[in-house]
């Protein structure tokens, strides 16, 4: 009697060598401090199941939002907030280019655009640069996290974020946002949303690997005739503008960023600090001279 070869794969109760990190099995990457990790969200694969939203809430013990129908397609979540760190956007492309109602379905993904939005973990990060307490910091995995035991709820990171990600929670008075599952990364687990994603629309990994994979995916899509596919947030692409070198959570989109509620050209607000401060000081110097002139005369 011959044993089928596949059965032999399970014949040993113990694997030879060291048990691999879980992320090595599930995300094909090892998680080590000092390297950059992030998400590649391929919107052409998203089916809008919201498994990422649920997985995020479950792992991070975040409360549910109000149970309401928004009337905006299947998007009842609304936006990223202090208690929602993954948000699936639903865009129904019901209008043709001439503004009339669509009369036929597109061959690709019907008329649907779906995208799982998340904190971009920008590099450099505007929220981190704005934080006066140092509560926002860059972790050893090149992600941006709010330290809840330091944040005093000044709220300056909220308008600083060009993507509208960071939010204050009125109940505990602190700023909250996606942590890229800092606790899971420390335990060699990939983030909850990426693990839950059934279509690999959300891919977790090391940035350089993800970049290569993403560029290849764009090439493939272009070869398939999907010529409007482009990367948003990878280095030297839209989204990584105005001093932001790259978004550690970047996206593959097929329509303008505005359609997905992403800014077309985000910029670092901190670039305005020095010229603005100097203008202010120059003004005060001018006023001091005016005051001298006013007080000297009769």
């Amino acid at each position: 009697m011959t044993v089928p070869p596949r059965a032999l794969e399970y014949s040993e109760s113990l694997r030879p060598g060291v048990i691999p990190q879980e992320a090595e099995l599930t995300a094909d990457c090892t998680i080590e401090p000092g390297r950059s990790y992030g998400f590649f969200t391929d919107t052409t694969l998203c089916i809008g199941c919201k498994a990422c939203e649920v997985a995020c809430k479950e792992w991070n013990a975040l409360p549910a939002e109000e149970f309401k129908l928004s009337g905006k397609s299947y998007d009842n979540t609304g936006a990223l907030s202090a208690t929602t760190w993954r948000h699936v956007t639903f865009v129904e492309k019901l209008k043709e280019a001439d503004g009339k109602r669509a009369s036929e379905l597109q061959p690709f993904q019907s008329n649907w655009l779906m995208m799982s939005d998340v904190c971009k973990h920008c590099s450099p990060a505007p929220c981190l640069q704005a934080c006066p307490t140092g509560a926002l910091f860059r972790t050893e995995f090149d992600t941006v996290v709010v330290q809840q035991d330091i944040c005093n709820g000044c709220g300056y990171c909220v308008p600083a974020c060009p993507f509208g990600v960071v939010d204050l929670n009125a109940l505990d008075g602190k700023a909250h946002k996606c942590t890229l599952c800092y606790d899971r990364l420390k335990g060699d687990l990939q983030p909850a949303c990426a693990k839950a994603c059934p279509t690999d629309s959300i891919q977790f990994g090391e940035i350089s690997v993800l970049h290569k994979r993403a560029h290849k995916r764009v090439e493939n899509l272009h070869a398939q005739g999907r010529t409007d596919a482009y990367l948003y947030g990878a280095a030297q692409t839209p989204g990584a503008t105005g001093g932001i070198e790259r978004l550690n959570a970047f996206f593959l989109l097929t329509d303008k960023p505005e359609v997905y509620n992403l800014p077309p050209a985000p910029s670092l607000p901190s670039r305005r600090v020095l010229p603005s401060l100097l203008t202010g000081l120059a003004t005060m110097a001018g006023l001091a001279i005016a005051a001298l002139a006013a007080f000297r005369g009769e």
């Binding site: 109000e66 208690t83 944040c151 909220v158 505990d172 329509d255 600090v273 203008t279 202010g280 000297r296």
Partner: protein
């Protein structure tokens, strides 16, 4: 091959992006704003007023002192006391605005040069100490009639003025260094406008104090001259700001909202009306221009307050736009409050309730109707 393929895409690598000032009229995500609204409220607006007065009056006092003209003693003394008063009360508003005020000391945990909030926190601390020293030396010098203390006050006022210049203007930098489109487009003009209006207001406040004290007429005239100079500049800079916003096709919700609510003429009116009391009688006999200048000063005092509210209002407007976009979203409707709501609609305490916090009905604020709110769409960045 890839690059040519990419050029065909809407945001291909070679075309990169439209610049951030271009107005996008295409499809957006249900018209939702991309950025989150600033959470600043009345407390921050009040601080902008007080901090500005504190910084600029220190500057006015120092310049009056260094001029060394006779009759300036009142300006020096009042300016230093006013500065101290402003810098004692202002930070209280700032701390009150924190959602976790018991951790206010964390503001001095680090220094971050990219954060105007951090720069401001440290400058405020330094300015508070320097203002305190200057005012204390002035007070002791006045009491003991010893010129040594006054000389000390004069030396201390130099670093105090430098810190005061930052305190009066960094608030403009602070709101300009955000992603809020209206503020971000006025990066250079906002701090200038804040500094100028702070000076106008301080000069107005000091001239008001001078009017109500027995000081030489020349002192008041000098203050009025400064107020007039600064007010003229303020007019020019605010016009420039308006024109810049018009050029960028940014909406001007602040001004429109204030004007529509009728606050602008109302506060101005109070300023002019109240300036008609004692000084009017005094100035009625003298040249009428003095009365006009004084009224202008009084008006400016209120105008600075109004300006602070203006800039608060532009943040509020975006918040309101967000409310419109999430009309049934209690999280958006809820006024940010440090206190967790403990009462439900029936007035029954839910503090010890086991119900999850997010479904406590007491948190649902009364929904605003469309009719009584002016909506502005802040557009995309």
């Amino acid at each position: 091959m890839r690059s040519t393929e990419l050029e065909r895409g809407p945001y291909g690598r070679t075309e990169v992006v439209a610049n951030s000032n271009s107005q996008y009229h295409g499809e957006t995500y249900y018209g939702q704003p991309v950025v989150k609204p600033s959470q600043y409220g009345q407390l921050i607006a009040s601080y902008l007023f007080l901090g500005g007065i504190a910084g600029a009056s220190q500057m006015i006092a120092a310049t009056a002192d260094w001029c060394g003209q006779r009759g300036n003693e009142f300006i020096v003394r009042a300016g230093r006391y006013l500065s101290l008063g402003g810098i004692i009360t202002g930070p209280l508003f700032l701390i009150g605005d924190l959602r976790t005020p018991q951790r206010c000391y964390n503001m001095l945990r680090i220094f971050r040069s990219t954060s105007p909030m951090s720069i401001g926190s440290w400058t405020l601390t330094a300015f508070g100490a320097l203002s305190g020293i200057t005012a204390a030396l002035q007070f002791v010098g006045d009491r003991l009639q010893r010129p040594g203390y006054r000389r000390g006050a004069r030396s201390a006022s130099i670093p105090a003025t430098a810190a005061g210049a930052v305190v009066a203007t960094y608030t403009g930098t602070l709101i300009a260094s955000t992603s809020t489109p209206l503020w971000a487009r006025a990066g250079r003009l906002l701090p200038a406008l804040f500094g100028i209006s702070a000076t106008t207001t301080s000069a107005a406040a000091l001239s008001l104090a001078a009017h109500n004290s027995a000081v030489p007429e020349a002192t008041t005239r000098r203050l009025q001259k400064l107020a007039l100079l600064a007010a003229g500049t303020e007019l020019v800079v605010s016009t420039l700001l308006d024109r810049q916003w018009d050029r960028d096709k940014s909406r001007r919700p602040a001004k429109a909202a204030t004007a529509r609510r009728g606050l602008y003429p109302w506060i101005q009116g109070i300023g002019y009306h109240r300036s008609l009391d004692r000084p009017w009688r005094r100035c009625a006999q003298g040249p009428t221009i003095a009365a006009l200048v004084h009224r202008r000063c009084r008006g400016n005092l209120d105008r600075r307050l109004l300006l602070a509210f203006d800039h608060r209002a532009s943040g509020q407007t975006i918040r309101r736009a967000a409310r419109r976009l999430f009309p049934d979203h209690p999280r958006r409707l809820r006024k940010w409050s440090r206190k967790a709501p403990s009462q439900n609609v029936a007035g029954k305490s839910l503090r010890n309730s086991t119900a999850p916090s997010n479904i406590i009905p007491g948190k649902l604020k009364k929904r605003r109707t469309r009719s009584n709110v002016n909506w502005f769409n802040c557009g995309t960045t």
